[in-house]
Symmetry: C2
Subunit: 247 residues, 2 copies
């Protein structure tokens, strides 16, 4: 029956190990996904091709299609595997600020460990079980605080937007240098450097210049810069919480 009707990867169960006579599957969906994640970590997501993953597993490219319907579905699986690395307590603590900070820092850590994560996560809507788990934790951190569900959803979205944007700003240029093949040093000096210098020296963008030259947080450790922006987002949320002694 080759006419698999197209359905979400999360609805499509993996081939059972013992469904009847025939060869036993030599690999698993989870194993394929883990290999793809490892390759993407080491060489970028564009290196995680079907052939390369299969080669790493010691098999042929087409074998992977026994475990994953399409390459895009594999991306969803990779995202969800990495979201599974995010460790959260069983329930919220009651301190919404601490809970949301925890989620934010955990996602940042995952995004730094896997530099392809944010690009994939924001390139397409995906709703894997692990992502849902993290999302639900963030939502419940703001529950029972006098906010209606639309505000809760909106604030979590706002936080999410900030985290994704901040991580992108943190690794964006580095990733771009790697993607073009140049080493970051040379890329910065010979490729983007001259242009930025020209823009600065033109004097046409005074505030942009100040944000480059006069910034103090720009030379802060990235983690502190992240926290700096995160605090502003959390303050924005706190301003809408009536009993806002942050707990």
């Amino acid at each position: 029956m080759p006419d698999e009707e197209p359905t979400s990867i999360w609805m499509l169960p993996e081939r059972q190990e013992r469904s009847g006579p025939g060869r036993r599957p030599g690999y698993s969906r989870e194993q394929v996904t883990r290999t793809a994640v490892q390759i993407a970590d080491a060489e970028g997501v564009e290196a995680a091709t079907m052939r390369r993953i299969a080669c790493e597993l010691g098999t042929g490219a087409m074998s992977l299609y026994r475990y994953v319907p399409k390459r895009d579905d594999l991306f969803d699986l990779m995202i969800d595997m990495v979201m599974g690395e995010i460790e959260l307590p069983d329930g919220t603590s009651g301190d919404w600020r601490a809970d949301l900070s925890l989620v934010a820092h955990q996602i940042r850590a995952a995004g730094l460990r896997h530099s392809w994560l944010i690009a994939l996560l924001t390139s397409r809507p995906t709703l894997g079980p692990q992502l849902l788990r993290v999302h639900e934790f963030a939502l419940s951190a703001l529950d029972r605080r006098g906010l209606d569900i639309d505000d809760i959803t909106g604030f979590v979205g706002m936080l999410s937007d900030y985290v994704h944007g901040a991580i992108r700003r943190e690794i964006g240029w580095l990733e771009e240098a790697r993607r073009t093949g140049l080493d970051p040093e040379r890329w910065k000096r010979d490729y983007i450097g001259p242009y930025v210098r020209q823009v600065v020296e033109s004097g046409a963008h005074p505030l942009f210049n100040r944000s480059l030259l006069e910034s103090r947080t720009a030379h802060l450790p990235p983690a502190e810069r992240f926290q700096y922006g995160l605090d502003r987002v959390l303050n924005g949320i706190g301003a809408h919480i009536t009993s806002d002694i942050s707990r």
Copy 2:
């Protein structure tokens, strides 16, 4: 001299129209970019291949490389052309809230007109002249309000993150349906629908369920929903402005 050393597209001038004897260029960088934008608008950015663009212009694929070094550079040019559509007054009005709202709504409009814009814009750091113009306007809207440059940059980044995220949420599912080739109706009913229903019925994510089922803004016109979140972001900024009667 074919050893063009790699440099930013913004530093690489277009071939002069009259540099010496030889044929006159039949096209222009701007013309190639506009064609690419039109194709991407109509059929998605993945349809704007070098061959397709050239075909549309009535020429061969390789001819385009006389105007654009690489395909990625063409993406930067497309982004900047669309950012050029954003109309802003010559200077800020003095009402920072109105100015930032204007930028946000203009970017949203551009993102809806060109459904590929946000995906490209957030997939790689780019700094074209038109993007710089818009960025500078947003920065200067918050200038002279008692904020230091780090706060100004941070708030504009926060706003930018929200706008990108909100647009993605607005067109994300629609785009995904188009990308997979199914019509949105069928995609929603047969593809993602059953999974979401299963998630909801499992009852494992009560707040996620409420955000789907009890939301009032979810059934609001998209423009109002955008404004709803935008107001929250602007409130967050306003809370940090000392003389905050919004002007």
